[in-house]
Symmetry: C2
Subunit: 426 residues, 2 copies
């Protein structure tokens, strides 16, 4: 590579990920790449490695103007503010960008896709392998490894915090709150975990994957999103009775000529690969033609995993293999969004009044709404308030029938605390 | 893409894979790619889709000379003969090649790596995603997705035939022979299954992955290779007693400044991802820094999976993203090969004479050779010949101590039928 010009990186952000990226580049991990300059909120913070030889710039935007810098690596974070300004300015200047910032991409996909499409048919690279599923090379797998396939369904465990909490609820029988506390103590959850546990983080990532897999204009605000806050230890227990675990799953699938996408806790059969994804790991499963089923699992967050993906993007750029955000502006993406769920099986848990006729009433309501029951478990121990937990596993049912049944159930005095989760279809 | 020139494919070989590739290209699955001409041993064989509009060439080498053909796709198969002639001629003419032929690449890596390195620093693309692990984009993941990582260990289930047989021995309690018959009936094994069940096919694939992961000159004849012929139903049973399954695993790992590689049946703990790879699936697991553990699973063979990988390679070429076989000629690859195995745990099964002192003798021999035992199972039922099967699980031990112990055991009249398998280290 000695006769090739070096690719000089401008690195904005020296947190855990940025520091690992810097160390690897300084160690010569990528042929033909060198660190040109860095910026950080706290330039003098001790980082455990020597950066005294690196030019610091106070304002990241100066890296864009610096003609000796070939690529901007944005690791500042945040949906707006300096990260957004930097990425936008760099693309406007025709300078390629590598980012790990899914919130930024998901929120500004329309604008950034236009900028990344460039002028006169020459796209500006905007690489974001690190933005989804951390170290799993899923952007590359979807866009390049499955080129020539038609994707039928994409599903994934895209939030390591939620997966850690659900795994710990299962293996250590913790409550949601205790598992969250533990995740925070271990650094797997932010001080404010709302974006993670609400499912929004997973939805942002799913919207980016759906754009690649289905050409769907990314808009995570338009998909149904549920988090894991409502999952109780009894749900983990009941799921195990059906040989299932509970996972927060993002699913996008072709349905009736459109694409349906959703983030929700689901029951997943133990025999399914997604059930075997434990702790803070992430995973993506793709069903494609002619390929079949592809399953990818790896660390979804943390300095090393995210840095790995950033480095991969940089290596591609060093070889001249950069790609725009999508194949064109988001406004050109045509695939219609389906608001109607495919017919799934559901797990339906409710408290039924501990008196004669409660079960008859509940099953009558389900039947009247066309929800047919495959299995029932009733636990004999009351919750103390005179209600007994009961779980129904339904046959495949369309969502409107299900919703009608749920609404009718919730109007009954004999029924309270209804939770309904889809069952992941193998 | 309308202003871009079309990439015109010359497709040699219209078997299951070739037919699927042709159909997908004809259906427009890859933007900017069209089928220029095809060759097949039996041009007029019915194939279930219309190829009457396609120019047939009798001699695949004519595709190389045809200036309207941009890329040769070699799906003829076979280590030598027409496939070898075609790939060689195409590279010599500076024309990129896509192939699914691991036997060809593994056998001729030295020569093809020189041709693919090109003249004057301009490499000729030689793409082979389909040659290893079928539809799993593992070449791309290793070379691009993990660029910037240091790989510590690569392990994989690289032969679908063996995995199918082992899975069926486990779940249906079949003998090796019956499981092989079933695999042949289902089309998962060749009429002559020698290359598969002997481990040679997996070794060819492992040698290509090791070249990418470690820069190791590929030579599958230099690694220890064992097949699955010696695995008996009792081994599947004993493995299950230790919560393990048996898988044919290819492992390459850094050890004492070198790389050790080997293909062998191994005991794999049920909790390990590799144990969950069932039927004819393939999988690859990579341990890398800074990434961590990455696990990829998918269909390893069959028309659809292999075609998927071929199409991905074609799509890369259509975008100008072709790469040579390796980063340079094999003769420049420097990583030394370790002949010494890491210290592993082993499963050691033997028949011990059903008389006083046999077990004492066996354990004494193990102890004398520094092989320390973690667990023992002895089955009470004799095999009828006066020998009782016994299984030792050893602690981690170096290979020379183990081999000395095995040699000494095999010289004892009280001991027969020794089988020794490593235990996969999580």
């Amino acid at each position: 590579m000695s006769d090739k010009p070096l690719l000089r990186i401008g690195l904005a952000g020296l947190g855990t990920v940025g520091a690992t990226v810097a160390q690897q580049i300084l160690a010569g991990a990528i042929d033909g790449v060198e660190l040109g300059c860095v910026s950080a909120r706290e330039p003098n913070k001790p980082r455990g490695f020597d950066i005294s030889g690196l030019p610091f710039v106070a304002d990241p935007l100066d890296m864009v103007a610096d003609e000796t810098i070939d690529v901007i690596v944005e690791l500042i974070g945040g949906q707006d503010g300096p990260a957004y300004e930097l990425v936008k300015a760099s693309l406007q200047a025709g300078k390629p960008v590598v980012t790990a910032n899914k919130a930024l991409l998901a929120a500004h996909a329309a604008e950034l896709s236009v900028l990344s499409s460039g002028q006169g048919g020459v796209p500006i690279a905007l690489a974001y392998e690190a933005a989804v599923a951390g170290g799993i090379p899923v952007i590359k797998a979807l866009r390049e490894g499955l080129a020539g396939n038609q994707i039928g369904r994409l599903s994934g465990i895209l939030n390591g915090t939620c997966n850690y909490i659900l795994t710990r609820m299962e293996e250590a029988k913790l409550s949601f709150e205790d598992a969250l506390d533990e995740a925070q103590a271990k650094g797997f959850a932010e001080a404010d975990p709302t974006l993670d546990i609400s499912g929004v983080d997973a939805a942002q990532k799913l919207s980016l994957l759906s754009a690649l897999a289905f050409g769907l204009a990314p808009d995570y605000t338009k998909m149904p999103v549920a988090g894991i806050q409502a999952i109780a230890p009894q749900d983990i227990f009941f799921a195990s009775q059906f040989d299932c675990v509970i996972r927060l799953v993002g699913v996008s699938e072709r349905h009736q000529g459109a694409v349906y996408q959703r983030v929700t806790p689901m029951l997943v059969r133990r025999s399914n690969n997604l059930a075997q994804v434990r702790q803070e790991l992430n995973a993506v499963m793709v069903r494609a033609t002619p390929l079949g089923d592809l399953f990818l699992q790896g660390p979804g967050a943390g300095g090393g995993a995210t840095a790995s993906a950033v480095l991969a993007d940089i290596a591609d750029l060093a070889l001249g293999f950069g790609r725009p955000l999508f194949t064109g502006p988001v406004s050109h993406m045509q695939t219609p969004l389906s608001q109607k769920a495919p017919e799934w099986e559901y797990y339906l848990r409710a408290g039924l009044a501990d008196k004669p006729g409660s079960m008859a009433k509940a099953t009558q309501i389900l039947a009247e709404n066309g929800v047919s029951i495959e299995e029932v478990i009733q636990r004999s121990s009351s919750d103390g308030g005179g209600f007994l937990p009961v779980v129904f596993i339904t046959h495949e049912v369309d969502e409107s029938s299900l919703n009608n049944a749920l609404a009718a159930l919730q109007q009954q005095d004999v029924c309270q605390g209804v939770l309904c989760l889809p069952i992941f279809a193998d």
